[in-house]
């Protein structure tokens, strides 16, 4: 969530953010994580070995449904480990072949394809797949869980709530993480944390690594939202202890070092080590923001270019649309508006509507922007990005009384939005 704000800093010429008052205490220590910055890749190596195992079988007989499914799973893992988006597309193709060949259990293949589409941000298609899965009488609960996920993405909150009700089971990890997400959507961070902690306890009791890694990193993110930085840091470290090549945990530690401790040099060092083994556009965004923070505009511009180039690569499809809209709003408002309209047509959420409002604002249509905010954003989300856009729109429309409370709110989310944006918020 926090990184959605990166690009907003390119919108207006920057002031010297280094003059901000520092509030930081030291939470991180190099020694805690230095050992994890090694660039060996055990997860990727293992996946490659498995890919060979299953693809050798498919070479002998391309109809083998088990090998198709297993290989698809390995490619999905490869994407997670390396960021290689082509692997995600390969996974999709393999799953479609498997579905075409499947004589039984077809609902499971529909769910697998839906999951792949969700990773690609193709939410409408994911929903179509899940609707197909749901037409089968078996595995309803698994399908309902994913229908909840996808309806949340599409902004169909009452539908999502229905599915959440039908999977209710307070002892089920799968339910608790979704309940946590629902609470977060409702702006009830306390409850979100409580349920995610319960899920973490189940994961910890299971003593299975994948579940622990997942719940540690997600709970850490919630702690970050709540400003509980030490606890967040502790969980990212615990994640790395279980999975030393976990890029997400390393990037999150880099964010703490940068946003909370304002040590962009060290944060850059961490990110650089991550980038040696994993390729993703958002690392460049983070580097761009840190360059801004360091008052190095040409460096920032370069990183920003790298981000745009990569995010526009064909394979990413709509995956980075939100960032692109934020960027284009400043540089090419007309295109930003058309892209934002497209995004809203894909999924009408407060988060996409605020992008539309932003694009309208940058096109000089402040009344249109205001109407969007009032109709689709106000009171419907607590995400800092959306609040920031709202505040800007209110300000442009001369509604000062609306700006002040939002400003206060946003200043409390300082860690989450980072020092550069915090500065801009103060200047609202």
């Amino acid at each position: 969530m926090m990184k959605k704000l990166y690009l907003t800093l390119f919108l207006i010429a920057l002031l010297n953010s280094c003059s901000d008052t520092k509030h930081t205490e030291q939470v991180t220590a190099k020694n805690d994580y230095e050992g994890y910055l090694a660039t060996n890749t055990p997860t990727k190596d293992r996946i490659e070995q498995n890919q060979k195992f299953w693809s050798d079988r498919l070479e002998r007989d391309s109809t083998q449904i088990v090998a198709l499914s297993k290989l698809a799973g390995e490619y999905e893992g490869f994407f997670q480990a390396t960021g290689d988006v082509k692997a995600l597309q390969t996974s999709e193709k393999l799953l479609q072949q498997a579905l075409a060949n499947a004589g039984r259990g077809r609902d499971g293949y529909f769910r697998s394809i839906a999951k792949n589409y969700i990773s690609q941000h193709r939410f409408k298609e994911a929903k179509t797949m899940l609707d197909s899965a749901y037409s089968y009488p078996d595995n309803k609960k698994a399908t309902e869980m994913m229908l909840y996920d996808v309806h949340m993405e599409l902004g169909n909150y009452s539908k999502a709530n229905e599915f959440l009700g039908s999977i209710k089971d307070m002892s089920d990890f799968n339910y608790l993480i979704r309940l946590a997400k629902w609470s977060d959507y409702k702006g009830d961070l306390d409850s979100a944390i409580k349920y995610m902690e319960q899920a973490k306890d189940i994961a910890k009791a299971s003593n299975r690594k994948p579940l622990m890694v997942w719940s540690y990193t997600n709970l850490a993110d919630f702690y970050g939202h709540a400003g509980r930085i030490e606890e967040a840091y502790d969980l990212y470290l615990k994640t790395l202890k279980l999975e030393p090549d976990n890029a997400y945990a390393k990037k999150s530690i880099a964010w703490i070092v940068y946003s909370y401790e304002e040590n962009s040099e060290e944060a850059n060092r961490i990110i650089d080590s991550v980038m040696e083994t994993r390729r993703a556009p958002d690392y460049w965004l983070l580097k761009a923001e840190m360059a801004e923070f360091e008052n190095a505009p040409s460096e920032a511009l370069q990183c920003q270019k790298k981000f745009i180039e990569m995010a526009m690569e064909e394979g990413y499809g709509d995956m980075y649309n939100t960032y692109l809209i934020e960027y284009l709003a400043a540089t090419d408002p007309v295109q930003a508006l058309s892209l934002a309209r497209e995004e809203v047509s894909h999924r009408a959420t407060p988060e996409t509507y605020q992008l539309l409002a932003l694009a309208q604002l940058e096109n000089g249509n402040k009344e249109a922007a205001l109407s969007i905010i009032q109709k689709h954003v106000e009171g419907k989300t607590y995400e800092p990005t959306a609040l920031f856009t709202s505040a800007r729109v209110y300000k442009a429309n001369g509604m000062k009384e609306k700006v002040t409370p939002l400003k206060e709110e946003l200043l409390g989310a300082r860690f989450e939005v980072g020092p550069v944006v915090s500065k801009k918020i103060r200047d609202l």
Binding site: M2, K4, Q49, D61, I65, V66, G105, R111, W214
Partner: protein, 230 residues
């Protein structure tokens, strides 16, 4: 970014990708369990090398490629329970309860069942005789022996063999039958096994007439259950 990750990862938990691919003797299993660590892939029961003993083999988490075998872990929230009915009323009279704690698998029983561990919910009978074995890895094999019982838990070559892929082709209507020779879908793959060998004297007498095809043979009705902590 975080939101996106939460969502993508939620979809990745337990219930999804694997749902379509967990197959074994109980090939593609039911939803609530498919793809999870509670999914039983196979159950074997046979007379041991020492013919005074019976052996029970319970397998979970099938189709492990060699590269991921050492990553597979028993779930400490999942109880595996071998049920033994010796009077042919199809209700368990004895259970052996098996569950992982840290690096070991713990075994309780065989013990007479009570209201606490009959049917669809169980508590673990910690008053029953307790044994344990360190969970093996691919390279380091551990077994334990106590009071004539023997114990093993860990990754093994999957003993199941079946041309599942061709079976799928038949069911899908793409083929009229199996191919000769067939291809063992499970060849080269591994599974997590729990093996327990028990003196028959601990089980007591079975019931004749339970198996109408072998009416004079005393029989135990046996099955294995997986149960998740609530």
């Amino acid at each position: 970014m975080k939101r996106t990750k939460l969502l993508a990862a939620i979809a990745g938990i337990g219930i999804v990708v694997v749902a379509a691919i967990f197959v074994a003797a109980d090939h593609i299993d039911a939803p609530a369990v498919a793809g999870s660590e509670s999914d039983i892939t196979d159950f074997y029961a046979f007379q041991g090398q020492n013919t005074d003993n019976l052996v029970f083999v319970t397998n979970v988490q099938g189709l492990l490629a060699p590269g991921s075998t050492d990553q597979a872990e028993f779930d400490e929230n999942v109880l595996l329970e071998i049920n033994i009915d010796r009077d042919n009323d199809l209700v368990e009279d004895l259970v052996i309860q098996m569950i992982r704690r840290n690096d070991s698998m713990y075994f309780f029983g065989p013990v007479q069942t009570g209201s606490n561990n009959t049917g669809l919910t169980s508590v673990i009978d910690t008053d029953a005789v307790r044994n344990s074995v360190k969970i093996s890895t691919v390279d380091s094999v551990e077994t334990a022996e106590n009071n004539g019982m023997m114990f093993f838990a860990g990754p093994r070559e999957d003993p199941f063999y079946f041309d599942f892929d061709q079976y799928n082709e038949v069911v899908a209507g793409n083929s009229d039958g199996f191919e000769d020779p067939g291809t063992d879908t499970f060849a080269g793959t591994n599974v997590l096994s729990v093996v327990v060998e028990v003196p028959k004297s601990m089980l007591g007498p079975g019931a004749t007439g339970a198996n109408p095809l072998m009416p004079d043979t005393p029989i135990y009705n046996t099955w294995v259950e997986s149960k998740r902590k609530q």
